[in-house]
Each structure stands twice: as C-alpha cells, then as structure tokens.
C-alpha cells in the first residue's frame, strides 16, 4: 500500500544516490483502453514514480497534447472507477509507486472519502490537482491524509516567496515545481532562471522537489537534476505514444 511517505523516501533515496528520479506522466486509457495496464507496468520499470492522468472534459491547464489524449481517453470510455480497477489488476507487477493527476470535478463526483480509500488500496500515494489552489483544498487534503496519502502542491515561477512557504508546508510526498509559466507541453525550453528558482524552493523545505512542464530530452533531465531530485516528463511521452513510437525506449534515453 502506497503512502506519501513512501513517495518521499523513494525520492530521498535518489537524492542520496545522486541520481535524478524520472517521473513519467501519461493519460489513463490513451491511446487505447486495453493497453493501459500493460503500459503502466512497463513504464513503472523505467520510472521511479509514475504519474497517471485522469482525463477531464475541460482540461484548462493543459496544452494541446494532453487535451487530445484526455479527449480520446474519454471517448474510449475511461472513468476513475475503471482506472482504479485496471491498476488493481496489475498492482503486484508495478515497480514504482503511483501518483494521480486529476482535475477536481471527477474527484468530487467520486467522493473524497471513497477516493482516498480506493486510491490507497491500489497503490496511489498522492494526488496532483491542477485546479485546486491551497485556499480551496482543506477538504480533499484532510480526506487524503486520513489514509496516509497527500496532496502534492504545485509551485510556479510566478509564486511569491511568502506563498511558497505555505505551499511547501501543505505538500506531501514532494513539491511539484512548474519550470516555466504556462501550460503543459510548450517547447520553449527550460527557464534560464531555473537554477535560482529551484534553489529558492529547496531552501524552504525538506521535501524533495520534482520539476516538470516542458521536459523533452536527456539534456532537460540533466539540467533539472542539478537543482531538483526528479524530472517529470508528460507531453513528450504522450506525444511518443501518439506517434506510436517506442515510448519505453524514449523514456530510457532520458536517463
């Protein structure tokens, strides 16, 4: 059974070993329903933590790639119950703990208590909810923490220092540092002020920091690894799936 503590300790192990943790993200049920469970198993062999995206009809913080994958996954018939059931069928084969990324409304519809219990059962250690700011998050956070899970807070380069302190205090497992202001999947490259920004967060918390948004290459991972414990790769992985490429090979080459 997963917990936010387990997520944190895996990342801290990476830090001690001076390796950069790789956190692949992909949309559940994309491109096909029947490949989700096997893809998850295979990706868990490469990633240190796997982030599963719950598709939503109105993904307002996502770029075109994740919008497309979410849209297709919904057409395929994905819902949260199905995702949990699928994960459960392969949970003994998974080699990395899971976190889940979802917009709030599907979680509301599932019910926070049921969600926390079911997530724990299938091995999900934490949730990333991109449209749930700290001020609105108490109810879900308490429900998750009652089961030993947690909300992973996002910090962005636009976040004021005083708010960073509050976000670090509320986060469990790790801190998700958005590396550029904007939506997922932009290819503008990594921020020049990246080092300063990531170091600023590191100075505020004992929690591991993982950086994402715009990670596409081994070079990106290497740069992030100099200032953060983990690199989250989302759009680039989903694009590789979209093009029916060898996405496991792609992930391996990021190391």
């Amino acid at each position: 059974m997963a917990s936010s503590k387990q997520i944190e300790s895996i990342l801290k192990k990476n830090k001690r070993n001076n390796t950069t943790a790789l956190i692949p993200f992909f949309t559940a049920g994309y491109p096909q329903l029947n490949s989700f469970a096997s893809n998850l198993v295979n990706i868990s062999k490469v990633g240190d933590i796997v982030e599963i995206g719950v598709p939503f009809s109105d993904p307002m913080a996502d770029g075109m790639t994740i919008q497309r994958s979410s849209h297709q996954a919904l057409i395929n018939g994905v819902n949260l119950k199905w995702i949990f059931d699928q994960i459960e069928t392969v949970s003994h084969q998974l080699q990395a703990p899971l976190v889940m990324m979802s917009y709030l409304n599907p979680l509301l519809a599932f019910g926070f208590k049921a969600l926390s219990q079911r997530a724990k059962e299938v091995g999900i250690g934490g949730f990333i909810v991109p449209d749930l700011p700290l001020e609105e998050s108490d109810e879900l956070r308490i429900a998750l923490e009652n089961e030993g899970l947690g909300l992973i807070q996002l910090i962005t380069p636009a976040t004021p220092a005083s708010r960073m302190i509050d976000l670090c205090a509320a986060s469990k497992g790790f801190i998700y540092a958005v590396t550029m202001t904007g939506i997922t999947g932009s290819d503008k490259g990594l921020s020049l002020k990246l080092a300063k920004y990531l170091n600023q967060i590191s100075n505020l918390t004992e929690l591991p920091i993982c950086a994402g948004f715009g990670v596409r290459s081994a070079k990106d991972v290497e740069i992030i690894g100099q200032h953060a414990v983990g690199a989250i790769v989302g759009s680039a992985l989903v694009e590789a799936m979209e093009r029916e490429e060898d996405f496991i090979g792609f992930l391996k080459r990021l190391r």
Binding site: F56, S57, D58, P59, M60, A61, D62, G63, M64, Q67, H71, L74, N79, L80, K81, Y103, L104, N105, P106, L107, L108, A109, F110, P130, D131, L132, P133, E135, E136, Q153, L154, I155, T156, A158, T159, P160, R163, L167, V178, T181, G182, I183, S186
Partner: protein, 411 residues
Amino acid sequence: MALDFSETEKEILYQSVLDNKFPDDMGRFGPFGGRYIPETLVPAFSRLEIGVKKYLNDPQFIESWQNELNEWVGRPTAMTYAKQLSHAWGAEVWLKREDLAHTGAHKINNAIGQALLAKKLGAKQIIAETGAGQHGVASAAACARVGLPCRVYMGAVDIKRQAPNVDRMRQLGAEVCAVKTGDQTLRAAIDEAMRNWVSDPADIYYIIGSAVGPHPYPFLVREFQSVIGREARKQIVTQAGGLPNAIFACVGGGSNAIGLFHSFLGDREVELIGVEAGGHGPDLGQNAATLATGTPGVLQGAYTMILQNHDGQVQETHSVSAGLDYSGVGPEHALLQSIGRVDYESATDTEALLALSELCKAEGILTALETAHAFAAAKKWASNNPGKRLLIGNSGRGDKDMITLSAHMKG
C-alpha cells in the same frame, strides 16, 4: 438536483443576500462560487481582486465608467410598454431595452467597465471569449475605445452560426481565434482563454463575458450589469406606477439576469424567473438547462450547478442560441435557486423561435434568440396570471441571428 436547504437555512441565506454579505471573503455565494484556478494564475487573481476592491470603491473610477455608459453606450436604455403584446397576452408587458445599448446587447455594460479596469491595472493585452459573438463585439468595441489590443476566442461552431459578429469584431480591430477543441462553443472558448492567460498572466487581462468563472468575476460582472436593474426599477415605478408582479430574463451564464434581478431581490412580492435553453428537450445533451437539470460541481473555476455525467465529466449542450449554449451557470444563480428566491424554467428552441416571431410582428422589435427564451416563458406565465404586470429583460437584438432565422424560415 439542487442542494437541499431547510426553510430556516433558506431564510438565513436570503437575509445574507439582502445584507450584501455575498460573495464572502472566499468568494462564495453561500456554498457556491469560490476560486478553483491553476497555481500559475493565483498571483494574477490576487492582483485582480485587489484592483476590483480598490476601483469599484473609487468614486472617480465609477464616475468614468458612468460617463462612458451615458455618452458612449447610450444609457439609460428605454423602458418600453409593449402595447400589442399586452393586448394579445391579456397582461401588462414592459420591456427593458438592452437591445438599444451600443453594440446591441447588455454585454457592453460589463465590457467597458472591465476594459477601463484593465487599463487601470496596467494590462497590455485583452483577451475575451464569446459565444453568440455579442460579448466579443462588446469587448472589441470597448478595447478600441480605451486603446488596448483585443483577442477574442470563439468556438468554431459559433463562428459558423454568428458570422456577421465575427466580421464586426475584426472591423473593430480585434483578432478572432477559432477554438476547435472540446465542444467548439462557449465552454471551449472559455477554456482556451484561460489557457492563454496562463501563458502570460502578468500582461494579459481576461474580460470574462458572463457572471461565471472564479471569484471575483461573478461579483465583478454582476456589479457592472446591475445598472440594468437599477434603471429598470426606477423606470417601471415612474412609467407604470409601481413594481411588476414578475420579471423574466434569459439565463446562459446569467449576466443579464443577475443584472436585472439584483435591484429587485428585496421585493419579495416580485416573482423573479430565469429562463434557460430547453433546446430539443429534457434529456442530457439535448439542452442547456443547467439549473433545471444539472447537479453541483466545479467547472471553469467555480462550484456551481453544471451539466455533468456521474463521473463528473461535463456534458455538451444544445441550444439554437449560441449565447445560452453553456454547461454551467453563474454561482449566484445557483444560490438564488437553492434558496427559492428565483425560479428557473426553460423554453425549447421551437418556443423561442415562435416567441421571437411574435414579438417582431407585435412590437417591431427583432430580439436576440437568447432573449426570445424569456418571452416564451413570460407568455406562458401571463396566460396563467391574467391582468398582471410583467417586465421582460430584452437583453439583446437579433440582427446577429439572421443566418439561423433565415434557415428556419426556409424550414
């Protein structure tokens, strides 16, 4: 199903409405509203909230807005006694003529207010979304007026059915971006505008067109639209000699309705009726009757009533009118429904088209397809309440709908 309150709870919430306690510090109207936004936008919303508090309480700012309303928008708009309709319906029918406002709908009240605010806040680029095109045209005009560049996001489906408005926006100097994601209507346009805002939150100001979205938008839009009700209340008392028995307004996101209703919320004897798009009928996906058939959830930044399935996925809608074709509704309407202060009904596409035609021939007023829904419901009410006085918010004119209307005339 709406949230269920006891009679005591309803009365307490109603009293809080009257005492101006909503939105509260968390941006809530009772349980509804709030601010569900990506972390990237948090600083931008903090700045917006501070700006809204500062300028909406600044007499100089309000005066500059009021001047624009008088000199440029053409306010106050008329209150028209509908003689023929009154005769035909056996009632006393009055129309608040927002169709006479500059650019042809109530949308301009809010657009010019927010454009002035954006200028004060130092914005370099305005973005807006539009459904029927009315808010897009209003925003384009307001931006031209205050001297800011404007980019309008519009669903590809709406671009097709509201082509004349697309050209008007471009003529007014705005850039129109076709949104081909999601349902390709108003909801997708709002999603896309939000996404664009996330890419440059410091320099972009988003003029939202309805009383929806994250706090403080539902409040801000209501404040700018409440001019409708303030004028209407004075006018009807003077011209008709007293308050109406019932007031009707169409509801998509609900900005013209909240603007008209707000000055009458304390008049318990005045029935308030919001009219949503009944589309083809009551099944999910066949209409945009969010309050009548929706359930509470979070969409586009607010906890409100939305059309969704059991998994919390927002459903597509259908309405003959682009401006009502929306799966959510302003959070204040969700509160007013749940406490029973406003009734929400729906009118079908066919009923709206018939009402539009009847009004045209009776009074020489081509109303917008959105607005026609309010007339359809008002007519039914009049037949059950003979001799009563009713006020209809004639929120916009129907010139933009000629393509749709021509298609229906040809059958």
